[in-house]
Symmetry: C2
Subunit: 166 residues, 2 copies
DNA sequence: TTGTGATAGTTTCAAATGTAACCATCAACC
DNA sequence: GGTTGATGGTTACATTTGAAACTATCACAA
């Protein structure tokens, strides 16, 4: 089998993801001028209530500097309040202010509605297939393992050609 | 239904894609120090034989400046040859040199083998589901339309909340 | 033939990003 | 108490990126 980019899985994933990201991000960009990292921090705190920067990073799969900057930006908007942990003063417990919660409550249903509208373009069977397939792919990629701790590497895939530098 | 990032489609896509991209890119990075855009240009030319920068951009869904820089870089490696169209001197017909083709022939089977190894972690049913679901998602996102011409926008999705700036 | 507008491709510039260094704090051990 | 190593989080620096400006060329029309 020859390699064709158009049918190659990582390429297809990339393209679909980029397009989805563009379409979804238009919602919070148009409404509030939020960037993707800012939206993710908002959504994470909207869901969790309170979290540290590290927890947000793990939960939203973002680099810690990205989280740091997004948090700083949302704090400038007065959407995030920060409280230093009394026992461990390295920790900053972050949570949404009333304004932040209001913004989240305004955005969340729009985001879910757009997701619903997108999935409504799929037949029920296709929808099931997407959920099944995506979950299986996540498992295959080792996302479950990655989630807990970024420490140990995945067990390598069975690839006869792996590491054959040639 | 509340918005939970972990079950939210664009977020799941993003995470899976980022992880897949990292894993796949390790192959050509380790072997040749190629970047993602460089690999895509190589793969596109490996597939098409000859193409202009614009065609590569359309085919690989990359911004034209990204293509331009990746092409320049591969040219510095002497992996790409360029020939100006005799009838329209704005066009540059790009193709792989012998060295470029050799690199592609070395990489392509590794990439396909890794894809196969990844998909081997899925059951046959899950694999079918992934392909069905991904294809349906691509259609829903309008990737088919996007491919032909980046001109007209997609017909808007059915979203009761669209554009309700509040 | 000389504008005028479009197109292929490159370059410039500013913004976003990741790596690495850094600061403050903590836990553990001497 | 003081040193050592780890951790949460921020900052500095270099790289990557895309938008917009630019160059060269083309088609077309006055």
């Amino acid at each position: 089998m020859d390699l064709r980019l158009a049918t190659f899985l990582p390429y297809r994933l990339n393209r679909a993801t980029a397009l989805a990201s563009t379409q979804f991000s238009r919602i919070y960009r148009d409404a509030f001028g939020l960037t993707v990292p800012e939206w993710r921090v908002l959504a994470t705190l909207g869901e969790l209530g309170t979290a540290t920067a590290k927890e947000i990073g793990r939960d939203s799969a973002m680099h810690k500097t990205k989280v740091s900057r997004a948090v700083a930006s949302l704090q400038r908007r007065r959407w995030i309040a920060r409280q230093t942990d009394s026992l461990d003063r390295r920790l900053e417990h972050l949570s949404l202010t009333a304004a932040g919660r209001a913004a989240f409550r305004r955005l969340a249903p729009k985001m879910l509605a757009y997701e619903e509208a997108l999935l409504a373009r799929l037949s029920p069977a296709e929808r099931r297939a997407l959920m099944t397939g995506l979950a299986a792919l996540e498992r295959a990629l080792g996302i479950a393992e990655q989630e807990q701790k970024a420490g140990r590497p995945m067990p390598p895939l069975q690839t006869s050609l792996s590491n054959s530098r040639g």
